[in-house]
Amino acid sequence: MKQLSIFLEDKSGTIFRVLNLLKGGGIQIIASTVADTMDNAIYRIICDNPDKAYLILSDAGMTVNLTEVNVIELDDEPGRAAEALAPLTEKGVNIAYLYSFLLNGKGVLVYKVR
């Protein structure tokens, strides 16, 4: 799955600007998360048309990356995420970031490894 990853200044209005640009392009956001790093922010977005969204944001001069992320689809039941990650942990995989959301009644686990 492709994810947008946007490097933002840590100040008011930067996230709003991204959202407005995507709105203008008719992009539907499925999930998003902001990581508040030391001096800046990283805004990660899963959307319905990542290629188009990438063009919109990069044309607007934003520092954006289109990243291939790992995805695991889960049944919407307790404990499925733990089961899904168990084999990775056994192999000693180190996860850089992870987030999840519900889509069409299924759980979706998005992660990237170091």
Partner: protein
């Protein structure tokens, strides 16, 4: 036909000891001459000194500095030390901030100027067989007439094309078989771009073999790009309009610093704050005393250009000192916690990281209780969704900056476009928000 490597072998390779004797003799003559100008007459009176006080080169320290402001204040004739009827030309700066500066010349001054430029051109391989096209502005801009007379002195066929009309420049280069072009670096790049648009390959379609570039600060990288584009060597010319213009210092074929002609000038490098001599090899402000000039001798002229003297002898055989590529202007200097820092030192480090763009901003502020503090913000060109990369890069930049400027700045990587300024204005690189006491 074979020529000497030197335009004036005796002067260019003169043993240092002998050169110093010549300098003292010429300095004493200069000091006697300069007090005929109202500015120095007044200065010497104020300081209680007389030309006879100069008994050795070390006595140079007793002489007053001269600044651009002095030239403006004594506009137009206050530094001219001969009757105006003995002057045959003047050059003048634009004077965008107040009075312009005026530099006067006698016929002998012009002859010596032509000799200096000829010496420079000969040094980079120009010979009477060459066709020399001067694509610099004529008129008041000294690089026009300065190179014109120097190139004629070498005996080259000169094409005084002046700047502009790039298509015609290229036609001249092709039709006249131009072998040497002088231009400011940005215009040299422009000529190349238009050549490419016209489908002309300078390597195949022209006889070009030497480029002289100067009058505009440029980096080593910019020079190399010009050399690669044209497929010829490009040599750095250093001129100062208050000295005369081009011909002050020029690169030799070693391309390692510019030889400054010490039979024309006495060179000092000073700390621009304390005005004391810099330690050997250290960067400071270039200060020049003219010792081969009649109409307008200048004592210890503060050029505001920051450079250093390069140590050691030059393999080219010339004994005259070499100045390093300019590091900026002393007006740009930052003093933080008693340390002198030049923005160019910071820029040089940042340019080593290919992940960074060329836009950066240095902010100085007072943060209690630590005191004054420097933040360096720089734009990242590419981001690959890896925060560790950003952190690692920040750490490495901080480490290298600390090694260079001896102060640990806060380094902040910011997204593209954050620091960008409008195109027509020069980018603001330093913001000083410190509380002044």
């Amino acid at each position: 036909m074979s020529y000497s490597n030197y335009f004036n072998p005796e002067l260019e390779t003169m043993p240092r000891e002998q050169l110093r004797e010549l300098q003292l003799e010429r300095l004493q003559k200069t000091v006697r001459q300069c007090v005929k100008a109202p500015f120095y007459e007044q200065k010497f009176k104020e300081m209680g000194i007389s030309p006879e006080d100069i008994k050795s080169l070390d006595d140079l320290q007793k002489l007053p500095f001269t600044t651009k402001d002095d030239l403006r204040e004594f506009y137009p004739w206050g530094l001219t030390a001969v009757p105006l009827k003995e002057c045959v030309r003047l050059h003048s700066s634009s004077g965008t901030t107040g009075n312009p500066t005026v530099v006067t010349h006698t016929q002998k001054d012009l002859d010596e100027w032509a000799n200096a430029v000829a010496r420079c051109l000969w040094m980079v391989g120009c010979r009477p067989e060459d066709v020399f096209q001067n694509s610099a502005g004529y008129g008041m801009f000294t690089a026009g007439l300065g190179f014109q007379y120097g190139a004629e002195r070498v005996g080259m066929l000169t094409v005084p094309a002046a700047a502009g009309n790039t298509l015609r420049q290229i036609k001249f280069i092709k039709d006249f078989g131009t072998t040497v072009v002088h231009a400011i670096p940005s215009y040299a790049s422009r000529i190349y771009e238009v050549m490419r648009e016209q489908g002309i390959d300078p390597r195949k379609d022209t006889r070009l073999r030497v480029l002289c570039i100067g009058a505009e600060p440029h980096s080593e990288e910019q020079r190399q790009r010009i050399e690669e584009n044209f497929g010829v060597k490009a040599y750095n010319s250093y001129g100062i309009s208050e000295m005369m213009g081009p011909g002050v210092a020029f690169e030799c074929p070693e391309q390692n610093g510019n030889h400054i002609w010490e039979d024309y000038f006495i060179v000092e490098i000073i700390d621009p704050v304390t005005l004391q001599p810099s330690k050997p090899g250290e960067f400071g402000e270039l200060v020049i005393t003219t010792i081969n000039r009649e109409a307008m001798p200048l004592l210890r002229y503060r050029t505001r250009d920051l450079t250093r003297l390069l140590p050691g002898e030059c393999p080219c055989g010339r004994t005259h000192a070499r100045i390093d590529r300019l590091r900026g202007r002393s007006d740009d200097m930052i003093i933080l916690k008693g340390v002198n820092i030049f923005p160019i030192q910071i820029e040089k480090i940042l340019m080593n990281f290919k992940e960074l763009s060329t836009d950066y901003l240095i902010t100085l502020e007072t943060i209690e209780p630590q005191g004054d503090f420097m933040t360096v913000e720089v734009e990242v060109k590419e981001f690959n969704d890896d925060y560790q990369q950003i952190q690692g890069l920040t750490r490495e930049i901080t480490r290298q900056l600390k090694d260079e400027i001896l102060i640990t700045p806060k380094v902040k990587l910011v997204p593209k476009g954050t620091l960008a300024v409008s195109d027509e204005k020069k980018a603001v690189r330093v913001k000083d928000l410190r509380k002044l006491f």
